[in-house]
């Protein structure tokens, strides 16, 4: 009963069914990975080539290790956002939208970033003042 007849061999078959599963898993991976890796932040166009070492207009922000200053006033980032929103910068012409921003001392990127974000989101253009003799 169980004996094979002479000359009757099983056809050699390569199992390819699982290839589909692997391939579709790879597709799902690519789709998910592509959609997850989006960067969040803000775009800012810093005017290049204009150099100033002192704040010359009333819209100036100073960031130091001991705090953040809007003009002469010591403020928090939330207060700076409010002050900038009050200027209604987005409705003005590009030259009037420049907010001078100076950082003194070795402030971390976290603090600097928040100020840049506040200026940018209020419709301002950050005019960054470099410290004289700063590291290039």
């Amino acid at each position: 009963m169980g004996r094979r007849r002479r000359g009757q061999r099983d056809e050699p078959v390569i199992p390819t069914d699982s290839f589909c599963d692997i391939a579709f898993l790879l597709i799902i991976y690519f789709i998910l990975a592509a959609s997850i890796s989006r960067d969040w932040g803000f775009n800012t166009n810093i005017p290049a080539g204009q150099k100033a070492t002192e704040a010359t207009n009333e819209k100036s922000v100073l960031l130091r290790n001991d705090g953040l200053f809007w003009g002469e006033r010591n403020v928090t980032v939330a207060q700076l956002r409010q002050a900038l929103a009050g200027l209604n910068l987005s409705g003005k012409d590009p030259n009037s939208r420049v907010v001078q921003f100076e950082a003194k001392g070795n402030v971390p990127w976290q603090d600097y970033y928040e100020v840049l974000a506040a200026i940018q989101q209020a419709g301002g253009v950050p005019g960054i003042l470099m410290e004289a003799g700063g590291k290039k």
């Binding site: 989006r38 932040g41 290049a48 928090t76 971390p108 990127w109 928040e114």
Partner: protein, 143 residues
Amino acid sequence: MSSRRRSRMRRPKTVVPVTSMGDIAFLLIIFFVICSNFAKKAGKNVQPPVSSNLIVLPKPKLYVAVDSEHKLYFQGRLVGSAGEIEAELTQLIDPNGSVEARTVIFECDKSVTKDVFEPILESIAKGGGIIGAVGKEGVRKEK
């Protein structure tokens, strides 16, 4: 007799042709691989700064990163100074190009200090780039 005959008769096997499914799937994979922008990120030790009201940045074509050890990367490659980045950007960026084409994604660790990141910001601006500063959405406790 007739029931014996029936049992001997073989029924045709139902076979779903799945071979071509594999081909289609692999074609789709090739499509995704070709069309996707491979990450040029180096940032293993980059903790982005936290801020609110952030937007989704365009897909990076030009990418600058500074990690927590103050190492500077351009397009995933370690570079020595901000001056090198400016030189490369000047060649790569068309000053009259679109905003998206000129956007340089800048990812910097939040602990990096001004003496490191400010020259890089300046070199991106001088190279004709628009800075796409990467952050993490959230609210930071006021100091």
